[in-house]
């Protein structure tokens, strides 16, 4: 905590280079806002004393910066000995830049954020679809919010459950993948191990080598066809083989291949000495894997597993081809209602971006906690042992 607040505090109290340059850009932004048209929500009208004062602060900072530039130009080689570099002037100009930034922030709030709020509010309450991009996006997002909400819920559930199921399957798959026949195995075990290894290689080869869109279509139609052959009616089939299930199975089977490779990498990254030490103590290969190697391998793989979840949020969009009501499918439906493709897909893009950003923040928080080394210093002191045994020194 202390480490994260310290730099922020330093930034405020420290003198910086480029105060005039950065401050001027901020002042220009503020002035640009001031001279743009106010919205009905605006609390700083163009003619008000407060607004004029804010603009004056920006102009004043620009003036000071221009002066500094002239001094620098005139005294190029000994600028550091001019009045502009006196500690008092440096500090005052820094405080002035904060004032400049505050004025700019107020103007941005008034002329940009509140204007945006006004436009969105107006669009939401409009009777018909507005024509400009922003308004129509707000209008469609608001009026079809229930469709988008269903889409988001499907997408999140597909990614979340899909990745979770895939993780469990990948543990099995990687277990098959790492089997190697040993000289001491009997022929049957050797045969099993070789086939397990070959099966997992083949599975990964096929899944990684074909698009998920194609996989979802094959899976959905093949299973549908199987049920059909048993003589079930279409409505019965839809009940036992719903689209969501088809999507979930596709995404799980697909991610299994990728996560198995991720886990294999994690296992290979564990030092071979860990396995040797466990075996030297008489543990079986499986015991050593379960108690020593796998826990470390999963820890190694956590960032990549989180990454797979984020990929699944985005890639579940291809499942819309079979008709899973995910965000992409719903967006296409809305686009069909209004005949407004660009705006609808922009909404989808923003939602996907928001979902992946949120997930990456969450994952960082979770995996950061799980992979961090214990927050204890090297043990020096007397650790008491709560076993009711006499302590010894």
């Amino acid at each position: 905590m202390a480490a994260s607040t310290a730099p922020r505090k330093n930034f405020i109290t420290r003198d910086h280079r480029y105060v005039y340059l950065g401050g001027s850009l901020i002042a220009l932004l503020g002035l640009g806002m001031f001279y743009s048209a106010p919205s009905p929500y605006s609390f700083i009208p163009a003619q008000s004393v407060f607004g004029t004062a804010l603009a004056a602060i920006c102009w004043f900072f620009l003036g000071v910066s221009a002066m500094a530039l002239l001094v620098k130009w005139a005294y190029w080689n000994n600028y550091s000995s001019t009045i502009m570099k006196r500690p008092l002037i440096v500090r005052v100009s820094r405080y002035l830049s904060y004032l400049d930034a505050a004025a700019c922030a107020l103007l941005v709030l008034d002329r940009f954020i509140l204007k945006l709020a006004y436009i969105i509010n107006a669009a939401i309450h409009a009777d018909s679809n507005p024509t400009d991009t922003l308004s129509t996006m707000a209008y469609m997002a608001y009026n079809q919010r229930s469709l988008f909400a269903i889409g988001i819920s499907y997408t999140v559930r597909l990614a979340l459950f899909g990745t979770a199921i895939a993780f469990v399957l990948a543990l099995l798959m990687v277990f098959l993948r790492i089997q190697e026949p040993d000289k001491r195995d009997n022929d049957f075990v050797k045969f099993l191990k070789i086939d397990a290894n070959k099966f997992s290689r083949f599975y990964i080869f096929v899944i990684r080598g074909t698009p998920m869109m194609v996989q979802s279509l094959i899976l959905y139609n093949a299973v549908f066809g199987l049920f059909k052959r048993t003589g079930m009616s279409v409505s019965d089939i839809n009940r036992v083989w719903p689209l969501f299930l088809a999507g979930l199975v596709t995404i799980s089977l697909n991610s299994t291949a990728y996560l198995a490779e991720v886990l294999r990498g994690g296992i290979l990254a564990v030092d071979a000495g860990q396995m040797e030490a466990a075996r030297s103590l008489g543990m079986t290969h499986w015991q050593a894997m379960r108690k020593v190697v796998f826990p470390q391998a999963i820890k190694n793989s956590l960032p990549a597993i989180g990454n797979e979840f984020i990929i699944n949020i985005k890639d579940s969009s291809v499942l819309c081809v079979v008709g899973v009501s995910d965000l992409m499918f719903m967006t296409r439906s809305v686009a069909g209602i209004y005949y407004k493709g660009t705006e609808c897909y922009l909404i989808a893009a923003i939602v996907y971006l928001f979902l992946t950003y949120l997930s990456s923040l969450l994952l960082k928080a979770i995996t950061g906690k799980m992979t961090a080394p214990n927050n204890t210093k090297r043990h020096q002191g007397n650790q008491t042992v709560d076993l009711g045994l006499p302590s010894s020194n």
Partner: protein, 250 residues
């Protein structure tokens, strides 16, 4: 010392591809004996040691342990390794476990000893290696010397009949080599059968009952430390020892 071999190796051969590492090794280790294997790097010392608990599979020959031939493919590896403790050059503590859990994992999982009893045994051995204060420490945060002492305690928790040490101090800086060697000396005095691959000539001279000099995959010379260090028969042994002493001086 009774002549009661716990390990008897006969004509052991091992190659890694084209590299012929062990060329017909014959060696006996008696119960309660401390045998130090010395020799230049690449002479096959570590490979020989790793063949004894089958971390490496020898190509041909015999290794009898307690009268059981380890080269027989039907032998129960895991039961056998319980009786053979091994200490590695790189410590190989379980990174995901605390010091105590490192020591209790195998006894609980392999021998099915109840937790409280396994922990009591672990604490006993950790205390003898001087780490009673570090029982709950994260094993990754110990110093090299501490790690190696935990590794010794971990092996002892399985109550082995013999301990193999594969260059246990080679990865340590010279100042903390002593703390590990002291633990090993103690162990030797308690009558543990030990086979030690080492470059610590002073330790070999002081603690071992027998010194084995290996060169290019064969045992060139063996005998009491007095014989091997004081009056080596083979010119190669003499060369190795003199070069070693020079290095030590430098």
């Amino acid at each position: 010392m009774t002549n009661d071999p716990i390990i008897k190796i006969e004509q052991l051969e091992k190659s890694f591809g084209d590299l012929h590492v062990l060329k017909g090794i014959d060696l006996e280790v008696n119960r309660g004996e401390v045998v130090c294997i010395i020799g230049a790097s690449g002479s096959g010392k570590s490979t020989l040691l790793r063949c004894i608990n089958l971390l490496e599979e020898a190509d041909s020959g015999h290794i009898w342990f307690d009268g059981q031939d380890l080269m027989d493919l039907k032998v129960n590896l895991n039961a056998l390794r319980q009786k053979i403790g091994m200490v590695f050059q790189g410590f190989n503590l379980f990174n995901n476990k605390s010091v105590l859990d490192n020591c209790t994992l195998a006894p609980m999982d392999v021998k099915h000893i109840p937790k409280t009893q396994a922990e009591a045994t672990a604490i006993k051995h950790l205390t003898t290696v001087g780490l009673a204060d570090f029982i709950h420490a994260d094993s990754r945060r110990l110093s090299g010397g501490q790690k190696q002492r935990v590794a010794i305690a971990r092996a002892l928790c399985m109550e082995p009949e013999i301990m193999l040490f594969d260059e246990p101090t080679s990865a340590l800086d010279p100042e903390i080599v002593g703390e590990v060697l002291d633990v090993m000396k103690n162990l030797a005095q308690q009558g543990m059968t030990m086979v030690v691959v080492t470059h610590e000539m002073a330790f070999a001279k002081e603690v071992s009952d027998r010194v084995v000099f290996m060169d290019q995959g064969v045992i060139l010379e063996q005998g009491s430390p007095k014989e091997v260090f004081g009056n080596p028969k083979e010119p190669r042994t003499r060369e190795f020892l003199s070069r070693y002493l020079e290095d030590k001086m430098a």
